[in-house]
């Protein structure tokens, strides 16, 4: 009966109820939307960070991270391959790379860059490279002299597809090796820095240049679910000699990004509270007014012998109904606005270089996650119920005498 009473009470003055509900709706909507927006921002940072040759898990020679040189490659990868065959879950893909810092030049220009020897087939499945060739063609596995160049580097060097670049690097034996490669294709990356930083050749081409037999610099693994990352990494660590090899997840490889994600999540919680406080003032104010409008009614109830607690309960039940309606409507509105932006995203093109500075894409697609939505709703529901206590207590303290004076 309490619920029925509360429900009818709410609709005695629909206009007032709508006013309060609208305050809750706008609050819920803003939080849902902001969480989706910031989640989209973070996700695009993560995707960009990971797709630039990181992946979910990487395996290196233990010494490689402090000293990324060709001396610290993994010279006998067969053993690792065998371990990975047994350990990796379904749907995981991996690729092997040789990475070396080089000096690139043509007749007029020169710069430093990272030369990456790839397995074209597997690389395509894992990193940004497969989707990014805009001109020319991708590398063929047997191609010994072909090279893929970023668009920015191509422009900087005033060169074109079919022309040559000279690569100079220290080889496995410690000598400076130098060789000409022919530009086969041009890739476009989300970030200009990536286009300038990396050059791609085939694994066999890299081995020939660097005088290597079968060594590799790194193995990069992409899993199909984020929660599996830590677990799989731990399993690989168990089966590999950790004195020789370092198994790291993207969180170890991109500590900046990990810290940023954590700080950002912390900030979002603070911001939820800030928005809630702003909204809370409105909720308290309007429900308080609703109570004062009904002073006579509460006075009468008390005069009929109702104890303060049932009054608190009934006012609180009303507030909770209103909160629930507001939360549902707010979620729907939030969902719709995220849906509206799903195709086109929020274009940050005017800040193109700026978003790059933060490692984000130029267009942000809001992402709604159950976890965020649950958080937002719990925050609003509990805090909303807490602040509604004040008007409820105020109502319970109305005495028949006070009511008669009205």
């Amino acid at each position: 009966m309490y619920f029925q009473l509360a429900w009818r009470n709410i609709w005695r003055n629909p206009r007032r109820t709508f006013v309060i509900i609208s305050a809750v709706v706008i609050g819920v909507w803003s939080m849902v939307f902001l969480s989706a927006f910031s989640h989209g921002m973070l996700a695009s940072m993560l995707d960009n960070g990971k797709s630039v040759l990181i992946g979910d898990i990487q395996i290196h020679n233990k010494k490689y991270r402090i000293d990324p040189s060709i001396d610290n490659s993994m010279d006998n990868p067969d053993k690792i391959r065998a371990v990975l065959d047994k350990t990796l879950p379904q749907g995981a893909v991996l690729t092997e790379r040789i990475k070396v810092s080089t000096y690139v030049s043509n007749a007029r220009h020169s710069t430093g860059a990272v030369l990456v020897g790839i397995d074209p087939e597997n690389e395509k499945k894992i990193s940004f490279l497969g989707k990014s060739i805009t001109k020319g063609e991708y590398l063929d596995k047997k191609d010994m002299r072909g090279i893929l160049v970023g668009k920015a580097l191509l422009e900087k060097f005033d060169t074109a597809i079919g022309k040559k670049l000279i690569i100079m690097a220290r080889d496995k034996k410690g000598k400076v090796a130098s060789k000409a490669f022919r530009i086969r294709g041009v890739f476009n990356a989300e970030m200009e820095a990536t286009e300038k930083q990396f050059l791609f050749i085939t694994m066999t081409g890299a081995r020939k240049l660097l005088n290597m037999e079968k060594g590799i610099s790194e193995i990069s693994i992409v899993l199909n679910s984020e929660p599996m990352v830590e677990k799989t990494a731990a399993e690989i660590k168990n089966r590999l000699d950790t004195e020789l090899f370092a198994v790291e997840t993207w969180k170890d490889l991109l500590p900046m990004l990990k810290a940023y994600v954590e700080i950002f999540n912390g900030f979002m919680y603070i911001w939820y509270v800030v928005v809630f406080v702003a909204m809370g003032f409105g909720i308290v104010n309007t429900s308080l007014m609703a109570v004062f409008e009904r002073v006579r009614e509460f006075g009468l109830l008390r005069a009929l012998g109702l104890k303060p607690w049932p009054v608190i309960r009934s006012v609180l039940t009303e507030s909770i109904f209103i909160l629930l309606i507001g939360i549902i409507a707010g979620n729907l509105l939030g969902y719709v606005s995220v849906l509206l932006m799903k195709d086109n995203g929020l274009d940050l093109a005017m800040f193109g270089k700026g978003s790059e500075f933060f490692g984000m894409s130029r267009v942000i697609y809001p992402i709604l996650t159950m976890f965020d939505v649950m958080n937002v709703n719990l925050v609003i529901f509990f805090l909303g119920a807490v602040v509604s206590l004040y008007p409820a207590f105020r109502a319970s303290r109305i005495t028949p005498v006070e009511a008669m004076r009205q």
Partner: protein
Amino acid sequence: MSTDMKMAFRNIWRSPVRTILTLSAIAFAAIILVFMVSFQLGSYEIMVNSSVKIYTGHIRIQAEGYREKRNMRFVISSPERIAKTVEKIEEIKSYSFRANGFSLVSSENRARGVLVTGIDPEGEAEISTISGLIRKGEYLAPGDRDKVLIGRLLARNLKVGINDELTILGQGKDGSIAAGIVTVKGIFSSGIDDFDRSTVQVPLSYFNDLFYMDGAVHEIVCTADSLFDVNKIKRLLKANLSEKKQKKVVVLDWKELLPGLVQGIQLDLASAAIFYFILVLVVAFSILNTFLMAILERTKEFGVMLALGVKPNRLFKLVLMESSFLTLTGVITGVVVGCAITFWFQTHGIDLAGASEILKEYGMSGIVYPKLSIVSALAGPLLVFVITICAALYPAFKVKKLVPVDAIRSI
């Protein structure tokens, strides 16, 4: 005080709890905005200053096209002539010449492709803080020849220490091979990883011979006393340099030199603006609701007033006066309290130990100081004021449209 004002004032205090709640909501939004904007502007200033002072400088004079292409041949062939013009401008605190060439730098068993920069040790010490950031060894002395300074991370990657030898292999201005052997004299740590990983500095005279520069340089880097002088210096330089028909020279300020930083700041401001706007929107809704309820509650009263001959316009004014008074008081309280809180943090700093990894990348230490300014103190509250007043208009218009008889009959 006119009768209307008196009435408005008394009306406001008819329900003190409501008034105080409304005031707090407005003040709260204003406080948050003052603090957040000050915090952002403060960190931007630190970011800009550290970038500018470590290496970039406030203004650079370069050959046209050099910045885009980084071509060795785009040089300033007679830097002394331009230096004379530069010296005439009082606002320029100091200036120095630089030349750059990409090279393969190798140690005994490591090699890296990096930017080798020729610097004039005396002049450079005036415009860049690197001389004070030497962690091992010493800074370059004026007479030094084949000595280099390298960044901490590059030293680690190349596995070299003080007095170790490095080979520089690059391309000279005329396209020929430039090769030389140098020894490490100092290792610096700027705190910006990217910079510490990719910088080698040699004396300009040595660079000149190594890369066959013929006395030419790539840029003249100038610094000013404050960011505010930069525009004036740029204007003066442009005017003076074009007089002398130095056609192929361009003057770039720090905003053009650090487009990523500037746009990063703009992006951060833009996404913050979305957050702020939504906060203000939520507050405005709270306020709108409160105003609306206050009006609904008093429908009968307004009906009586209208029946007694009060013009709808006067009622409209009265209601608007009440809400502006509330808004104004709230905003002013917010500005005062917000400034006080911000000022406290400005002197004490905010310890963001957890974020130091990120801050380091932008050249900041773990402690951030918000910076109070007219803009940061007033921009946010102004937004709150404008939006809240707009929110108050709707209920006021509603009052204007009341019909006396219906209004008196309503509960």
